[in-house]
Symmetry: C2
Subunit: 423 residues, 2 copies
């Protein structure tokens, strides 16, 4: 395939057409300057679905939706097997940019147009998915659409989640269903052959290393902890050292110990202490309380277990203060399918652009799809590692290279006979 079709496929991916689609989509929910505020299931989010459905229909796709307001654009294959699916989300943070999520959907539609222009049909159907409420900023938690697709029993709980005005997700979903009732329904949890998500990196690695493409090996596991240190308040001037129960002294030692241990661990362990609150917080008063958080990430649960066990043991040591630890969140690591990783890597290599494997530090819909079918992701660079920000930016040629690699990988996955035939 790569000798016969690579150039044919990539030559038909149009940098200009892709850029136009991204810009047009960004007009729906456009906010100050280059920003986008298109939160989940708002009128803007529903309007964006309708706009993209028209674009997809113009490419000859059939349009479907499901009970979670996820929308699918299908391009028929020569057989009727489970589709190979790409896509992402089109909801944004309140102060979002043009690319987070939207890029993956637009790249999928560009793939559809390129295949049309190249006159190529795949064995399996291809689909582009729009997953509902990935950001989780209006209705918590995030990734409701992909999670409910994979585990339909979650939907009834999600429906109770309310936004800041008290409106429930279920009501917003019913309104969207009403507005999109011209689109036929498909069941949740129907089989997929594979899922590949194109997304901006939301981090600095590709840009700093001069790589155009990132083949994502998986999503890190993450654990959040809140540590409370309780000492005793007393006067900074009159209290000798040996009588002090200084919560800042004990808490900063724990924090430094954690950072030192993270530094000695492998480079993939990411530790962040983002909150550190002191009471009473007066210059001449020894603190009786510190509460700080730990955000801990690694692709291996074993490494996370080990680090957590060591940290817990430090909190149990003899100390002038009492220390307690509470788990706030836990997500297991998501390793992606070996087959999809290899296919995306081969596609990146065929593009002739510099690429590397990397992990995703942020969550994505792919975290849930990985429980449903062989799944992988493809990253393109984010300028200055920025996301969830109006200044979010990827260069036009990077956007196009991502669509080219995506098209090659999707073509390969949608033609299983190539596996049998050899290459």
């Amino acid at each position: 395939m790569k000798f016969n079709f690579t150039d044919l496929l990539t030559d038909h991916v149009s940098q200009e057409r892709l850029a136009r689609l991204i810009s047009a989509l960004a007009e729906i929910g456009k906010s100050d300057g280059d920003g986008v505020n298109r939160q989940a299931l708002t009128p803007q989010d529903v309007a964006a679905r309708k706009f993209l459905a028209e674009v997809a229909a113009g490419c000859g796709c059939e349009v479907y939706r499901d009970e979670a307001a996820n929308v699918f654009f299908r391009r028929a294959g020569t057989t009727d097997g489970p589709p190979v699916v790409t896509g992402s989300h089109i909801d944004s943070q309140p102060t979002g940019g043009k690319f987070d999520g939207a890029y993956g959907v637009c790249a999928g539609l560009e793939m559809m147009a390129a295949l049309n222009d190249a006159g190529v049909v795949t064995e399996l159907p291809l689909e582009v998915a729009i997953w509902t409420n990935e950001e989780g900023c209006r209705f918590a938690p995030g990734s409701m659409g992909s999670a409910a697709f994979v585990q339909p029993e979650l939907l009834s709980t999600f429906r109770e989640s309310a936004d800041s005005t008290g409106l429930r997700f279920g009501e917003a979903l019913d309104d969207a269903a009403n507005a999109l009732q011209f689109i036929p329904l498909l069941p949740l949890n129907r089989p997929f052959s594979a899922f590949v998500e194109a997304h901006i990196e939301q981090g600095p690695v590709l840009e700093r290393e001069g790589k155009t493409l990132g083949v994502v090996s998986g999503i890190q596991g993450v654990r959040w902890f809140r540590i409370s240190v309780r000492g005793q308040t007393s006067h900074a001037g009159t209290t000798p050292r040996e009588f002090r129960k200084d919560a800042v002294l004990v808490a900063t030692e724990l924090v430094q110990q954690a950072y030192a241990a993270a530094n000695e661990s492998d480079a993939d362990l990411r530790l962040t202490v983002g909150r550190f609150e002191v009471s009473p917080g007066a210059t001449n008063t020894i603190a009786d309380g510190v509460t700080f958080t730990i955000d801990l990430r690694h692709p291996s649960d074993d490494v996370l277990d080990d680090f957590e066990a060591r940290f817990r043991s430090w909190t149990r040591r003899q100390s002038a203060c009492s220390i307690s630890l509470e788990e706030l969140m836990r997500h297991k690591p998501t390793p992606f399918s070996e087959k999809v990783r290899a296919t995306v890597a081969e596609a990146a290599e065929q593009c002739g652009e510099p690429w590397r494997e990397l992990l995703s530090g942020a969550f994505h819909d792919s975290m849930y799809l990985a429980e449903h079918c062989p799944t992988g992701m493809l990253f393109i660079p984010s300028k200055d590692g920025l996301s969830h920000h109006p200044a979010e930016l990827s260069a036009p040629d990077e956007l196009a290279w991502g669509a080219k690699a995506l098209t090659l990988a999707m073509y390969r996955l949608a033609n299983p006979s190539l596996d049998v035939a050899g290459q």
Copy 2:
């Protein structure tokens, strides 16, 4: 003297009379439970001056005041030399107790009564002083009365200091002068032979070591610094370690380094980090800013200089973040007069109660008086080291032992011929 007069003097100090005076004074400005709220130059503070002036007059004292509303109770000597003065302050914090400040004034009046009962007259006159606005909570800074007494040129600046309602210290001073106009004025900065202040420790040392009396060798020097660490905010999940500019990582390292260096220094160095504020302060966001404070105290300016120089050098080291340091406050150490220290120590020894030398970690009016005349202090224990709190407590016998030692020391200082005669 100690063979002839010690028992005579101490036997006439009355634990009951002293306790009654402290209780009666605590009724003026009494707040919830055992608390006292008698802030500087409030009607309560002025009423307390009038009440104590009546008590002093009942002891045969002459009553004087000065332009800073400081009040003095004088017991004549056989000569007209500069007086030997004791006393403290009677203003309190909003949630103060019965003893901070008030004890030193009441112990001075008990001394007057005991000398009367013993039929003893000193060579030099004795005085009990009430210094205005030591606490500094209504009008900043603290110790205005003693500071203005020693440096009268400060008074015009102090007069401009306003309370939270906008009322200026000068207006409050004029109102107090009006209310106390029956009391004759004496000039600021008139000569004293010596000053001895009795005060509760406001710390845990005497109680923990089972000492009844503390001979204060001086007041620690104190320096306050604010340290600002500036990094760069980024996503906890997507930012590899080598790209991070984590302000919490850098700030906690500086704090730990400072505590470690303080630990290796002599036991009198006291370091407190009482504030530590993080921005933006989100669990999954690397902090771009930390601001923390350092409260540093030691009796020697050399030791403070050395520690400050070392700490400043750490802030200039290569780091992922930029670090700035700002000095917020500086007070030089105040060593007390050798002669007064020795006299107070001898008096404590004559009491036969356990005593020790110690430093004052908190400020007192004696800090300013030490610039004016030979000065010293005498501490009694504070239960649990508490002060500025309704639960502030010293035991009745400790209150009495302090008054006895004070009486012995004042008697000795007010009879200079004993120095010539030998003992």
